[in-house]
Symmetry: C2
Subunit: 638 residues, 2 copies
């Protein structure tokens, strides 16, 4: 299974050198002296020195001769941290810039799920992410998105088929199939979904690569049914009960605690009680601002300890457990024969990082990447990924509502990604006094300029327009505005800068966030991205916008698999009825009945699936989700 | 990595059937009702029913419709037991007969290390073991012996090279390289040993197959050096300290508790304290009598609980842990999607077995295999493995000592496999009054009849002769006797019956144990083998023999890698000096210097390596074995 990239290939001679270093017959390259070693195998801490040769740990114990010595000063030496599930795109950073931000926080590797960039440009987006990550010292492994597009009513640029997945799984840095979100398709036997499962399972038998799950809200018998289909992990447990169920089903539990959803506090007591080996902490999504200011997995460790999780166990959940799950042998532990990916913590409460070492080299120190290991200057190889195309003929008249029709209005709920379908109204233009503004989605990949128009309540916008190229999962242009001309300008600016987000008022650009890579990411340093984000938020506020994070909120208003009323370039979409409302616009080819029933994604990310309204087809699935595996009488033998 | 045999291949339709059974849309094949399920993931026990379809677990929870129902009567349903390291040959039984004995004890799988039969007939012995095991419901997986022959001074029949190993690793039932016993060769960089390591490591990178260790007495830096060479497990820890060291080094700890060595009691407190996921219980060697009367892994579970190990953790050590270690996915747990290999225990203290289920079928009940799953009658396919060949010209005169020479005498120590080199004496014939009898080793594979003769003290033998074809590791004929004619007859009888053990007095066979398969195993039922063993022991006692287990004691007197004085067909061998003493006999080709230094095996099996005298070359190795990894100050955070 283990590709040469995954099992770093020592030559025979190098391996024998490690043997000799351990026996004191050969000098080490580096000796880390005076450390308190965090042993994730026995969940203990002990004083030792660590000898390194050819980037690998040769000995954990007494001092030996070495070319270079590092004094750990009695601090805590742990395995480098690994995030088992993250969408790097959510940080708006390229992988190498992301690396620059998280490596000083002790992160040595991530398993990226490049769902967003692959929706924009297919599997080549995955390859680009891995290649870009390879420019940094961070290990950037990947998984192949399994659900592109999210539904047939979104005009994205990419369709990922079972064949695409088979090819992508051959990439040595790809460790498996990414989160299978289409659980109704899994449970209902949708042919396309099962083609993908079959492909991945066949590959897994040969290579040991994984099938990652995503089963938001699934419980009881349905969760077990999902496991039977071959899915091996889940990061959507939001209660102790769900977490317990997943562990009992043999799943690898990824406890998510990221910028978009925080589940650790609720699940921490269960982990403290059971210390299950198959549990990890992941971020799923992480803002640039949070990464920069509060940290990455170091932040999660800090919070886990605050919630009462033993520090050594918490560290195992972001080191050995992800290495074991993703089948990355000789990683995730401070032990002989392991890759010398290490982090030196000041303590095991705040988890301040003194330095981070990758493959035997200190690459970051005191919160900064060391110059010689920093990201190189240019990332112009991303140009081919730009995909914001508007036809010259497209303009404000495409945003006009030609004749007044009774149409429901999208109602935004604060801090939720699902929406309400508000009572229908006849509207031609925005009515900011009643908090009703225009919303439009403009196809931007193929240059058709096809535009869906509707109205939305809850933005607070009083003037001008906001537009962006982040709109799950198709990532067309989504725009809200009071003025059609400002909306046109905003879209034009996006095409000009290659994507991002922009705030326009009276023909003037008030703020912009440039995300020229796929319209999703920037190669600027994190600090610049965060500054631009805040300027943008400030400019939006100046227009009267009351949304706390307008980019995040807008990004979910075009996602057809989250209830209730959404909009795509094909017009308003009623998720509960699973149909387009605007018959005048050319509709997508009607999907086959099983797709209609099954192509729903679960309610993802910030929504609490237990509280959100669900479309009928999902309700049918969930009706059977009792919790039979939870014991009526449980006897803990220990 | 995971061959189709290892990941049982469900068809797409079958897998979807499992999904539907879990959702109540399709009937299960079998429903086990009213069980207390032992969950090895969370180390808890809970009441549930288990639905099975196509031999796999589809649901653990509420009752569902099923073609057949089994009432578990509130008993404890655990995953079927797996022995991660066993030499089946030590039971003297063929794999299918072994299966007949252990399956009713709850064992569903073993990873066989067919070291003995492979010494007799090479890799085809491994293949034969797997094929024979496949005749039974027991899963018999294998590993490829890595150290055949044990040394160049033994005339065995087989040499297993790196090429042989590469080929054998392609067998779908072979899960890895077997115990690398030649740790001096590993540490010293012996070319042949490293050819084998390189071959296995290369294969492991592609397939995920394992490199099994055996590092008796190795500690501290040397143990870590051994791990650096790529060895992933060890079953030779005899103290808590050694066990702790192995866990900290990231090794998979196999705690051995078999008929030949019992290490569980000493190591149990460490396991109870740390509950490390990477710990297993194995037997290594198991007598037919013990298997029949006291059990197999059920016995170890009983003892573990008696030593204070929590029952759920102990069960994990013989179910999920071996499945995880040997990379047998979807095994070792009562969870959806797993193979329905199960055992129903009456309780979690005595571990009496109500029934054993393999792949969804009850195959044994109340201590007996069910007739339809019992071993078939014939095992004549073993004929090709017979290899007891004496030339017609061989006879008593080959056993004569022609001229009296001063020669040291082999001194047997009770319950030890190492011997003393007693002061040299001039002897022509046995002198039973002084407890000095003749000992001979006769080459039996190639039919040369080459015979090494010496004298041994400590047997108590007063008359007649005892001979057998079990003699580690070459398994030539080894014989002790007072009378040359009886010794000749004993050897001739062995050739006639195809091997085994025989007791002869005054030209008459007093007792015999027929082991016609390779001279090592019998296809008779366990009960018959045990009866024959006891008759043999009784007959030996009648000759005055004081050895408690004469077959076991004799089997180690020809093993050149255990100190101090041994005998092979090439004559007396001084292990400490690493040389043959009888220059008149044709010696083996002098091995290259590194072989001389490095080809030593560690003191195996029953010997306590910390107490036994060691040859100089081993002493050199062990001199560096301090224990630097054990903490001066240890801080347990939990």
């Amino acid at each position: 299974m283990l590709s040469t990239v995954k099992t770093p290939a020592l030559t025979r001679q190098q391996r024998h050198d490690l043997v000799q270093v351990a026996r004191g017959e050969l000098s080490a390259d580096v000796l880390i002296q005076n450390a308190r070693v965090v042993d994730v195998h026995t969940l203990t801490v002990y004083r030792a020195s660590v000898a390194i040769k050819h980037g690998f740990i040769a000995l954990v114990g007494e001092d030996v001769a070495a070319s270079e010595t590092l004094d750990a000063g009695g601090l805590f030496l742990a395995p480098g941290l690994i995030d088992a599930h993250i969408h790097i795109e959510s940080s708006l950073m390229t992988p190498r810039r992301f690396a620059q931000t998280v490596v000083p926080r002790g992160t040595v590797g991530v398993i990226a799920e490049p769902h967003e960039i692959v929706n924009v440009c297919g599997v080549k987006g995955l390859e680009w992410m891995l290649a870009n990550g390879a420019q940094s010292p961070l290990h950037v492994w990947g998984s192949v998105p399994s659900c592109v597009p999210a539904s047939a009513f979104e005009t994205g640029n990419a369709v990922v088929t079972a064949n695409d997945i088979a090819r992508a799984l051959e990439h040595p840095l790809v460790l498996g199939l990414a989160e299978m979100m289409n659980y109704p398709g899994v449970l209902g036997g949708d042919a396309g979904v099962w083609d993908i499962l079959e492909t991945a399972l066949e590959n897994a038998r040969e290579t040991g690569k994984r099938l990652d799950g995503h089963a938001a809200g699934l419980g009881g018998r349905d969760y077990q049914a999902y496991v039977n289909a071959g899915l091996e992990s889940d990061h959507e447990a939001v209660t102790e009960r769900e977490a317990f169920e997943r562990l009992r089903a043999g799943s690898w539990l990824m406890v998510r605690d990221g910028s978009a959803a925080r589940n650790l506090e609720v699940i921490a007591p269960l982990l403290t009680r059971l210390k299950p080996p198959r549990a990890m902490f992941v971020t799923d999504d992480a803002d640039a601002g949070e990464l920069l200011e509060r940290g990455h997995l170091d932040r999660i460790l800090r919070e886990a300890v605050r919630y009462g999780v033993p520090a050594t166990y918490a560290i195992r959940a972001v080191t050995l457990a992800p290495a074991d799950y993703w089948r990355l042998p000789m990683r995730g532990a401070v032990a002989p024969g392991c890759v010398a990916d290490l982090v030196l913590f000041h303590d095991l409460e705040q988890f301040g990082v003194a330095w981070t070492m990758i493959a035997g080299q200190v690459v970051a120190k005191d919160g900064q990447m060391l110059t010689e290991h920093d990201a190189p200057a240019a990332a112009t190889d991303a140009i081919g990924l730009n995909s914001v195309h508007l036809p010259a003929t497209w303009g404000a008249r495409d945003l006009e509502v030609k004749r007044p029709q009774r149409r429901p209005v999208i109602g935004i709920r604060p801090h939720q990604i699902y929406t309400d379908a508000l009572p229908a109204q006849r509207l031609l233009v925005a009515d900011p006094h009643r908090d009703l503004v225009k919303i439009a989605v403009v196809e931007r990949h193929k240059g058709t300029g096809r535009t869906g128009v509707g109205f939305v309540k809850g933005t607070g916008l009083q003037r001008g327009a906001i537009a962006q190229t982040i709109a799950h999962d198709h990532h067309n242009i989504i725009s809200i505005g009071v003025d059609d001309a400002d909306m046109e300008l905003a879209a034009r600016v996006l095409a000009l800068i290659g994507g991002g987000a922009v705030v326009v008022l009276n023909g003037e650009v008030k703020a912009s966030l440039e995300l020229p890579i796929g319209g999703l990411m920037s190669d600027a340093p994190a600090r610049e991205i965060v500054a631009a984000q805040r300027e943008l938020e400030s400019a939006a506020k100046d227009l009267g916008c009351v949304l706390e994070n307008p980019v995040l909120t807008l990004s979910f208003l075009a996602l057809t698999v989250i209830p209730s009323l959404k909009i795509t370039d094909q017009g308003l979409f009623d998720v509960n009825q699973w149909r387009l409302l605007d018959a005048a616009k050319p509709a997508a080819t009607k999907p086959a009945p099983n797709v209609l029933e099954d192509a729903l994604e679960p309610a993802p990310r910030t929504v609490d699936p237990l509280k959100s309204p669900l479309p009928e087809s999902l309700k049918k699935t969930r009706a059977t989700s009792s919790n039979p595996t939870l014991p009526d009488v449980e006897r803990l033998l220990n």
